[in-house]
Amino acid sequence: MSTQDPAAAPAARRPRIATVWLAGCSGCHMSFLDLDEWLFELSKLADVVYSPVADVKEYPENVDAVLVEGAVANVDNLELIRKVRARTGAVIAFGDCAITGNVTALRNRFVTPEELLRHAYVEEADFQPQVPGDRPLVPELLPKVLPVHQVVKVDAFLHGCPPPPHEIRSLLETLLGTPGEGAAAKMGKEENGEPKT
């Protein structure tokens, strides 16, 4: 985290970005980590102030932009995304779970979460069938899994399951106002073949 030196006055504040992991498989974050050495470049351009891959417990104030992976599926997701929205300039739905609900929302055909839990842990179980009951330990499921934009305002959408690294980089470069001299496109070709749909 940057502490501003008042003496160095007009120097621009370093951009503060974050990544958040709601109900998703972490694949979008894996794709983010696949940016490999460019992550060093990123650390020169901005402070990553909160992320599942950084040891920060509380989502901080005054974040400029956040990549949100995953859908809103339980009460913890709901609390976090509301906090994220209140404390962040640009919220980017990062990957298909955040945008559509995707695989996490396949459970929505069940009328209630109880029906889902019974199906998964009792009807389909072949060992000690029981619904996990310790609510304080496991965050309570919401009635339906929701895409992020149905819960809070979303400013941009980055598609893919997961979004390919070069697209994450292009987005971050656009956000940080440092177009990468066509490097992102080049990187995409080299490492990912033709950009996937």
Partner: protein, 238 residues
């Protein structure tokens, strides 16, 4: 043979006699997005993606089933049409479980392509998440109703090209579903000749070859046009 003269997007163009607005546009290099339309079979105007504005008509008209007329003035790409097209696509995505990353047709899907081409980056309507069946009783093919957009290409190609009419529609509104024979499992539908034309015609992952997994189902949609050209025009080279 007299050609029809009309204006498309302010440009004076001519069309073959009897051509639809869609054909007239294509003959003159104007793209209109389509989904239920497939070369080789009849048009029904089911998907509403090809809606265009026609001067003097308060209603939007589907270009695929509207005949081009002399002095007609057509707009194909106004802000209003773009708004409606996007909305139509969003409604299609919201209606059933179009979960691209786990779909056999991911990357080869016309619904997915139209969404991308028309800037549909998210769906503003609540997803319906209906509980729909998958029928894999047929030896070689399967139908996943979660992916079906009710374009009726399968119904038309089976009836018009194969002449079997195994496929049809049942139910109304959101309860509509494509059925085989008298709403029997596909594997028990006696009229099915297993020709696979419905499989090739399907725009999404709804009808697929068994054994294909995520991203593997590539429909050869141009084969339908090839068959009808071969029959009608004796053209055997695709």
């Amino acid at each position: 043979m007299k050609v029809t003269t009309l204006k498309i997007n302010g440009q004076l163009v001519s069309a073959s006699p009897g051509a639809t607005v869609l054909e007239a546009a294509r003959e003159n290099g104007v793209e209109i997005p389509t989904l239920c339309e497939l070369e080789g079979i009849s048009n029904v105007g089911a998907c509403r993606l090809c809606l265009v504005e026609i001067a003097g008509s308060p209603r939007l008209q589907p270009a695929c089933v509207t005949e081009a007329a002399e002095e007609m003035e057509v707009q194909t790409d106004t802000e209003r049409l773009k708004r409606y097209r996007r909305m139509t696509l969003e409604l299609l995505f919201a209606e059933r479980n179009h979960v691209c990353p786990v779909c056999v047709a991911n990357g080869h899907c016309e619904l997915q392509n139209r969404a991308r081409e028309n800037g549909m980056d998210h769906v503003r309507f609540p997803y319906q998440h209906p509980d729909l069946p998958v029928d894999i009783t047929h030896d070689r093919f399967g139908v996943d109703h979660n992916r079906c957009i009710l374009c009726t290409r399968c119904v038309r190609v089976c009836d018009e090209v194969e002449g079997a009419h195994t496929w049809d529609l049942s139910g109304r509104g959101t309860q509509s579903i494509v059925i085989t024979d008298l709403n029997q499992p596909w594997g028990e539908a006696d009229t099915c000749t297993t020709c696979g034309k419905c499989v090739e015609a399907c725009p999404t992952g709804a009808i697929f070859r068994k054994g294909s997994t995520v991203c593997e189902m590539e429909h050869r949609r141009d084969r339908i046009r090839f068959i009808t050209d071969a029959r009608k025009k004796q053209e055997w080279n695709p």
